[in-house]
Amino acid sequence: MTDIKAEIDVLPGLDPHAPLLEVNNLHVEFRTQYGVARAVNGANFRLAPGETLAILGESGCGKSVTAQAIMGILDSPPGFVTQGEVKYRGTDLLKLPENQRRKMRANHIAMIFQDALSALNPVFTVGYQLGELFRKHRGMSRADAKKRSIELLDQVKIPAAKARIGDYPHQFSGGMRQRVMIAMALALDPEVLIADEPTTALDVTVQAQIMGLLAELQQQRNMGLILITHDMGVVADVADRISVMYAGKVVEEAGVYDIYSRPAHPYAKALLESIPRLDMKGQQLNVIRGLPPALTAIPQGCAFNPRCAYAQDVCRQDPPPPPYAVAPGRTARCHFWRDVIGE
């Protein structure tokens, strides 16, 4: 059962003491007929075992593309990783040949998607799709694979797992389908789980069930979790650290308590002031003027400068602000972070 894992573990450069996952200076661009869209422009972060890192941002900020680049499932062409490294235990995944990357997926790094109905194959039963992982990656027999699949469905708390293993994806409710997808991602015991908007399509009461389940499974397995979302409520509930992305860059990275109480980047601050809160009434919603930039025409200097209240001439000139160290383990890409945090 662990044969394949063992094979991966002797990959050159794989160091069990190196950080679990490290993304350095990642650049992704899409070459389209309308020009080059720079979706990710130097993303940096790190993930430790058992840690939850939230990547927070609005549509088009590059958060999903970053996840796809880490998984190696970028549509290519038109998408290309042009620079940077994605290191898993010291090995740069971007340099691995495809057959080895394929073994990395699901075995070490797995992903769950927003829309379970389109992520699952509609013409195969859930049991077949789950069992396929064990048969292909672990060489199990059909009977053993089925047994393991039922155990897994039990673990993600699908009632009457034994009876439901022969059902097709459309026969499950939205929340149950998301559980099936979680089961599939966790089947081969990965060390890193990437969840791309796992609860955006679900109702709040179901969202609470799924987030609770994810937290429980993460703790049991001491997995590193990357949670990609735009929901600042969910992030406040589960994340340890947050990377806020804007126009393909991580503009602020900080611990969850720091960023919510004293944001250091004007974009993070403005986002927090623009959402209504359940536990308060009558606060003024702060509006971020303008629109996020088109990825084919990112403004010179700091990408946020046309919408920023703090912007000065220096913000409109290249080079864009570097990640200033605000505190140990905390960075912000803003020349005026001291002013932002001071208020």
Binding site: A208, G233, A236, P276, L278, D279, K281, V287, P292
Partner: protein, 338 residues
């Protein structure tokens, strides 16, 4: 508040059942999806009534009934004393002017082959008495200006605008006939957070300027709290609890409202683990076959035999200062730290 003249819209026992049929040539009715099943609500002038609930609760059928896109199976919709369900022909067309709608998805609700000017001006074609033909171009430009768009952009097409701007176009179209009531069906849920605030502020500004009444339907309870004066919580086609902001958010008395509120994450990590969390088991039952008695009893931790036998009516109860459809209604704060 109790002044009858203030009431602009009132529904009584509003019901919409969608038939489930069998057979090809001779369709026989084998059942019905009870999308809306007896809804009473009142909307006053200048007020915003929030309607919240999860998928399958009927919150998308309700607005269609209110603006007349669907015919109710039973019940009445009174707008300014006229029962909309009984009106026909020109009287109906005239009455409909007064109640307009903003749709959820600004990408599909604007015709891609019409210019913005044509989209916003189309209501004038249907109701020519509102603005004489000569004044229409000016009226359209004024509307664009009102919703914060550049009046010179009348000849552009929807694809040339961003999501937030398109929603502004949808709002301008709803304002064209100077209605008293606007039904907003999830108006901000397709938008990014930084754009949401712009549209919410615009809706609030327009309400103050024109004295509009809103029915604001959404699944996001934080947004609804921000914009609403009163809130109705729906579950499986029924209103289970209704009240003002403090009654619903600070002292909810129906178990479903409590569970719903406790599931909404608050953007403040210091409250993590400090709030009273209720995690519901299972999913919403099918509206084609709702449980007997109280519809929430299959997921309710308070359910007893009376809940299966007697359907609790929406009324003020011993321990609830506002209408709640629960035999065991009792306040419980789930929003703040305990």
């Amino acid at each position: 508040m109790t002044d009858r003249n203030d009431v602009v819209l009132e529904t009584k026992g509003l019901v919409k059942h969608f038939p489930i049929t069998q057979g090809i040539l001779f369709k026989t009715k084998v059942g019905a999806v009870r999308a809306v099943d007896g809804v009473d609500m009142t909307l006053r002038r200048g007020e915003t009534l929030g309607v919240v609930g999860e998928s399958g609760c009927g919150k998308s059928t309700l607005p269609k009934l209110l603006v007349g896109l669907e015919k109710p199976t039973a019940g009445s919709i009174n707008v300014r004393g006229q029962d909309m369900t009984k009106l026909k022909g020109s009287a109906l067309r005239h009455a409909r002017r007064n109640i307009q709608m903003v749709l959820q998805d600004p990408y599909t609700s604007l015709n891609p082959r019409m210019t913005v000017g044509d989209i916003i001006g189309e209501p004038f074609e249907i109701h020519p008495e509102v603005t004489p033909r000569k004044g229409r171009a000016k009226a359209v430009q004024d509307l664009l200006d009102t919703v914060g768009l550049n009046p010179e952009h009348v000849n552009r097409y929807p694809h040339q605008f961003s999501g937030g701007q398109r929603q502004r176009i949808g709002i301008a179209r709803a304002l064209a006939l100077k209605p008293e009531i606007i039904v907003c069906d999830e108006p901000v849920s397709a938008l990014d957070v930084s754009i949401q605030a712009q549209v919410i502020n615009l809706l609030e500004g327009l309400q103050n300027e024109f004295g509009l009444s809103y029915i604001f339907i959404a699944h996001d309870l934080s947004v609804v709290r921000h914009i609403s004066d009163r809130v109705s919580v729906m579950y499986l086609g029924r209103v289970v609890e209704t009240g003002n902001d403090a009654q619903i958010y600070e002292n909810p008395t129906h178990p479903y409202t409590q569970a719903l509120l406790s599931a909404v994450p608050v953007p403040d990590p210091r409250l993590r683990g400090q709030r009273d969390q209720i995690v519901l088991e299972g999913d919403v039952p099918s509206p084609a076959n709702p449980p007997s008695g109280c519809r929430f009893r299959t997921r309710c931790w308070k359910a007893q035999s009376i809940c299966a036998e007697q359907d609790p009516v929406l009324s003020i109860r011993e321990r609830s200062d506002h209408p709640s459809a629960c035999h065991f209604a009792e306040p419980r704060d789930v929003v703040h730290a305990v």
